[in-house]
Symmetry: C2
Amino acid sequence: MKKVIVSIALRESILDPQGVAVKGGLAQLGFTGVEEVRIGKRIELLVSDETTDTMIHDMCQKLLVNTVMEDYRFEVEEVTTA
Amino acid sequence: MKKVIVSIALRESILDPQGVAVKGGLAQLGFTGVEEVRIGKRIELLVSDETTDTMIHDMCQKLLVNTVMEDYRFEVEEVTTA
């Protein structure tokens, strides 16, 4: 098995209202040193060893990521199934 | 400035229905080698250099993370403001 971690973030050019709201919330709690907050997704997949990077890109582009608004990248870790 | 990446995931013991749905979606698209999908959050903060790790833990526990259901960890990167 392989573990794939897909990190998804809104493109830099796109406003993140959820992040703005969280920044406001932090400020109200007294955390004034926060300049920017951006909220993205982190999807963890457990896939078979036969799954190639091309297939993972395919999964991202067909289902996991809205490529118009979001950027993604992924890391693959080997998982020992002992 | 420092960049803080907070990774938030549902605790292992908690069912992730969104992940189950995504797994089903991937299977329908023909990606059958996917064993498990878990969906979490990835929050990127840009904070002042004075912000300590203790303050970041505080932000997580007071606002960003539901510590009853979620686990979190974070990484800090130095950002050069050239």
